[in-house]
Symmetry: C2
Subunit: 345 residues, 2 copies
Amino acid sequence: MFLQDKPHRRYNILTGEWIKVSPHRTKRPWQGQRENSSGEQRPRHDENCYLCPGNSRAGGVQTPDYSETYSFINDFAALLPNTEQNSVDSRFFKAESERGICKVICFSPRHDLTLPRMEEKDIVKVIQLWQKEYKELGSEDFINHVQIFENHGAAMGCSNPHPHGQIWADEHIPDLPAKELENQKSYYDENGTPMLIDYLNAELESRERLVIENDSFAVLVPFWAVWPYETMILPKKQIQSVSDLSAGQVADLAQIMKSLGIRYDNLFQTDFPYSMGLHQKPTDGKDHPWATFHMHYFPPLLRSAEVKKFMVGYEMMAMAQRDITAESSASILRELPSVHYREKN
Amino acid sequence: MFLQDKPHRRYNILTGEWIKVSPHRTKRPWQGQRENSSGEQRPRHDENCYLCPGNSRAGGVQTPDYSETYSFINDFAALLPNTEQNSVDSRFFKAESERGICKVICFSPRHDLTLPRMEEKDIVKVIQLWQKEYKELGSEDFINHVQIFENHGAAMGCSNPHPHGQIWADEHIPDLPAKELENQKSYYDENGTPMLIDYLNAELESRERLVIENDSFAVLVPFWAVWPYETMILPKKQIQSVSDLSAGQVADLAQIMKSLGIRYDNLFQTDFPYSMGLHQKPTDGKDHPWATFHMHYFPPLLRSAEVKKFMVGYEMMAMAQRDITAESSASILRELPSVHYREKN
Ligand SMILES: O=P(O)(O)O[C@H]1O[C@H](CO)[C@@H](O)[C@H](O)[C@H]1O
Ligand SMILES: O=P(O)(O)O[C@H]1O[C@H](CO)[C@@H](O)[C@H](O)[C@H]1O
């Protein structure tokens, strides 16, 4: 089958973009940049970490002595709630003011943990906090989209190893979710069913790109994956947003997030860097029955804890490109042990 | 003016995408990853470099004893010319085989040079080689797009410091150039003139985002720039491809490329990393009168030789974001000395 061993391009039904696959090219030598692999052991509490309980932050604020999760307005927020309305709209120069709220979400008081090394019951608390924030931020009149995400690891521009994620809540629906919504809508208009649920059913049948599953969710390497070990978490039944998850589904999501994270860490026996994020129903008050809640994981590592895939020249000027196929990545992830390499024995 | 100091979004007329600007946020502290800044002195000839004249490459091929420029088929090509035609086209799984040719372009036999430290007359030879390759590759029946680019520096995934670039010539026009062509076409259909020429005239009038210019070209930070010091080189008169450049225009392009490169290196007194690429008329045999030849420079550095901008979580899930405005970046670049910091005295 040409998809296994011949150069080809694949179509991403979610974004409407193509990606280039060069399966014959995996043995290319690498003399380029090497990442620092993070085998470091961190202390449970770090005096110099502004996210650890009781320490002080920028502007002299004190982080409270929290014992589970903790969220606060980003001290260096990219968006502010009180920006005056403004715009320019000439032929070449089109811009408009943008209001928003940026928050930081601490996953745990413990400085030394990461999501895959937290207990499931504590990941449940993170998801519950996402639910609360999505609802609260989304209920603000001027917030039409809530982007929840995590940058994990120095290779992904994370500036503090304390387990945390972020939320950027926006006045306008950003381009990428807008594109995904548009494609989900076209499909729904044509078929009357949510695209991502139908897609998952096709993947569950083939099982070629399936990594793990439980009662409520499945993890797969999407057919059109760009990053070497990119995955998506998809719900088995239509759910529009994190706040629609039942208690049982929250527990299942915690279980599958942990299980995926363990496989990622085990892949190169390292604290695996990634950016992860939730896509869901906008908070613009409209219905969006086509919008299916899902999570994207974009991890950069390619061959080892030190060698990542660079999305540079060709990718920046032309289109995304990958060497290893989605099917090989899925099979590699699937075969990995389900116990974290640091917990062995 | 809100564009200077308030959070806003700007529209990219070339791609049709929005980008988020947070001008109030430039003083954010940075405790994240630091790049190795490349103050290293390299030898004129490196025995272990497979791009230096006379050394041997992968597969035992010998790089000839070239004295100006040198191009060859990439030993680890992402695309191959002889891939059999093939496709799948089901509802969720859409893919097609892709033919192509990937080449490496050595800019100089000297291992220790970079484009901004080469003489203009030698940069002219690089542009002449681009002209030749664009024509030759483009004349192949199955090649419809020729992407010329350079990944410069380890931070941009470049695996060998020998001055070189690449060409990936494709069967299909890739997504990004296709989008740019579409927007240029819409504008042309409406106005009867090439969009980028009209845009440049507006920029030449305002001069706010202009960095440098000569008789044939101008460098500017586009209104919708994403990377902190992103620039575009635009021709002052309509030119569709690199092969349409007259000898005088080639000399002017060499002059402005060198001049821009010197400013980049001077900014943080380092061998400034970037990905650079040419966008031009596809080689599909059609006319494309709206297509204007231009070059994009996407450099990652933000605050110093060590601190780069990461396009991660929010940017991967939602949309591009920058802190410093295009206007400040242009004024910083404009004020830099025009003599390379390593050539002083
Ligand atoms: O071809 P190279 O230099 O080995 O590789 C570099 O450029 C390619 C084209 O932009 C990218 O796909 C690679 O990720 C990057 O490391
Ligand atoms: O907000 P942080 O963690 O300081 O910054 C990180 O995440 C942001 C949102 O993805 C990016 O814009 C920054 O480039 C990155 O370094």
